[in-house]
């Protein structure tokens, strides 16, 4: 479409913007896309390699040095596989879903500042694809949209396990988005701006100004947990719990569509690591040696380094942590993360106004959490009278879906 507009007349007149700016923007998009794609292949290799190391295996090692080309080979293999669409599938949605999974991940990356500023042809521009005024809200919007890939993939497969996976995914993502949003708000409170660029610059003056420290560690931890859940990464990967649901939402997918899901998942991992770095670790901030002309490289290196650290953390989680049970996952989201993030947000807001407010709100939060804990406790063990019979199987309450089948089975 953009070519069409270019052909329509003098672009300078039509847009009211400088051609150079346009070209730079286009270049930024292309570079970011290309780089991200490259990183994803590396990430897949990285994950497999790290996990195998942690499990005392060797991992991929045939193709390329250290097996670096293994991902490429897998991709080519998937690309040439037969493309299956189940007979029960809802064809249009089935085809649409992988793209819905991929695109939000790509868009989210566009707001991540990967470096400082660079001046080319008298135009100073940021090393990030876009710096929209709503900035970090785009992250929330896209994480909201990314759920559709999973939900629709599972539903459109026309198969039971993917459907269960879909239901789980939608519930899980709604649950954790609240906590996620609230932690983002604490960051925004501290910065006073939604722009990711501003968020990064406000952390630029040393480690003590990083939001990680500035806000207390808690928002970071909350964010890490919620974002992991949003990503459906272990230990929150009940959506694709292979022991329960075969392959989860993408059980019925094959060939290139499956590859797209795979791509999306790893792209999301990288993007979210980058976002985390941006929000809490100062983004590209770090020591910059005074070397002329290549000063702009160091922030990028800092950024890459920090992001890699988080990518490693994700892989580490996967290797080290057992998967949550579904009800535990929901409990964690609703009963721990949301109250905690809310309380911490109040705390931050209070301290921004004045210490007195801060302490007052802290006290309030403490009292509230005491009550809340007790209420949760009571709620779990509440006696609803002699006729309260909650069917249990092996001391373990059943997930609602199965429970419904069990109790309402005699309806039909």
């Amino acid at each position: 479409m953009s070519n069409l507009i270019l052909a329509a007349g003098d672009p300078l007149y039509v847009f009211g913007v400088n051609l150079a700016v346009f070209i730079i923007a286009a270049l930024k998009v292309l570079v970011a896309f290309g780089a991200l794609m490259g990183c994803v292949t590396l990430m897949i290799w990285f994950e497999r390699k790290v996990i195998s190391d942690m499990q005392s295996r060797i991992g991929p090692n045939r193709w390329g040095p250290f097996g670096l080309l293994q991902t490429l080979a897998d991709g080519i293999k998937l690309f040439f596989k037969e493309d299956l669409i189940p007979a029960q599938a809802d064809r249009f949605t089935f085809k649409l879903a992988p793209y819905l999974a991929l695109i939000p991940a790509l868009i989210t990356f566009s707001i991540v500042p990967v470096g400082g500023t660079v001046t080319v042809a008298h135009h100073t521009f940021l090393l990030q694809v876009a710096d929209p005024p709503i900035g970090i809200l785009l992250l929330l919007a896209m994480s909201g949209l990314s759920v559709y890939g999973v939900i629709l993939a599972g539903w459109s497969s026309g198969s039971k396990y993917p459907l269960i996976s879909s239901v789980r995914a939608s519930a899980q993502m709604i649950s954790y988005e609240a906590a996620l949003g609230m932690t983002v708000v604490t960051v925004v409170l501290a910065t006073g701006s939604l722009s990711t660029h501003d968020i990064v610059t406000s952390q630029a003056h040393g480690v003590w100004h990083w939001n990680l420290i500035r806000l207390g560690i808690v928002p970071f931890v909350l964010f890490l947990i919620s974002i992991t859940a949003e990503l459906n990464r272990p230990p929150f990967d009940v959506v694709e719990a292979e022991s329960e649901l075969v392959g989860g939402f993408h059980t019925e997918y094959s060939s290139i569509r499956f590859a797209l899901f795979f791509l999306a998942e790893f792209m999301n991992t990288i993007t979210m690591s980058a976002v985390m770095v941006t929000l809490f670790f100062g983004g590209p901030a770090g020591y910059v040696p005074n070397i002329p002309h290549i000063q702009w490289v160091f922030p990028i290196l800092w950024f890459l380094g920090k992001t890699t650290l988080f990518c490693f953390a994700y892989v580490w989680f996967r290797a080290a942590l057992p998967r949550f049970r579904y009800d535990q996952l929901m409990d964690l989201g609703w009963k721990r993360l949301i109250p905690l993030s809310l309380a911490w947000m109040l705390l931050v807001a209070g301290f921004i106004i004045s210490p007195a407010w801060g302490f007052a709100l802290a006290a309030l939060s403490l009292v509230a959490s005491t009550f809340l804990t007790r209420a949760f406790d009571i709620g779990l063990n509440r006696e609803a009278g002699p006729d309260s019979v909650l069917p249990t199987v092996g001391e373990r309450p059943l997930p609602p879906y199965i429970l419904r089948k069990l109790t309402d089975g005699d309806d039909q």
Partner: protein, 189 residues
């Protein structure tokens, strides 16, 4: 500000947004499958969000996507899948005799009426009360924020009551009746 000539990018964006919104809206009411309708709803929502962006309401565009796409439609899909009601509704059966013509008539009357009223009013508002341009860009967020916390402070507080009652109500309704009585009654019905 540029004069009141419509520029090409704006026009194209508008047409895209309008097309998304209208096609999505038509999709909602024509698709037989609720999931497809929900997808169409997303299309409309995104179209409207783009229309917001085009009118410099950045904050609302983001909130629109976060709240509607990120929560409301997901909730719809969740319920559709949870209940397994994604079966095809037979739209050819008239639910009530003459309901469809009545719906046509009432919608046409309403729409024509509203549009006629609006065009009679010259498509413009009678009022030009405000001072200066509505803030755009980063200031848009700030302006919305300060409006919400000053002019609309009570309304903002009222939303607390609204959300409380909604949550209490939803929990109450969706909670399984632990007495088990309704289930047996449902079987009788």
């Amino acid at each position: 500000m540029i004069a009141m000539t419509t520029t090409w990018p704006d026009l194209i964006v508008f047409i895209a947004a309008a097309a998304m919104a209208v096609i999505g809206a038509l999709g909602i009411i024509t698709y037989r499958n609720p999931v497809h309708s929900a997808l169409s709803l997303i299309l409309t929502l995104l179209g409207v969000a783009i229309a917001f962006l085009e009118q410099e309401a950045h904050f609302l565009a983001a909130v629109q996507v976060i709240v509607y796409c990120g929560a409301i439609v997901v909730l719809f899909l969740f319920v559709i899948m949870f209940l397994g009601v994604d079966n095809q509704e037979d739209v050819t059966i008239e639910p009530l005799v003459a309901q469809r013509p009545m719906a046509y008539a009432s919608v046409v009357v309403t729409m024509v009426g509203i549009l006629a009223m609006l065009s009679r009013g010259g498509w413009s508002t009678g009022a030009q009360v405000a001072t200066g341009a509505s803030p755009s860009g980063a200031e848009n967020v700030q302006a919305v924020g300060s409006a919400v916390f000053t002019t609309y402070l009570f309304a903002f507080e009222a939303t607390a009551a609204l959300l409380i009652i909604a949550v209490v109500g939803a929990v109450l309704l969706a909670r399984r009746d632990r007495t088990g009585e309704s289930i047996s009654e449902g079987a009788d019905a």
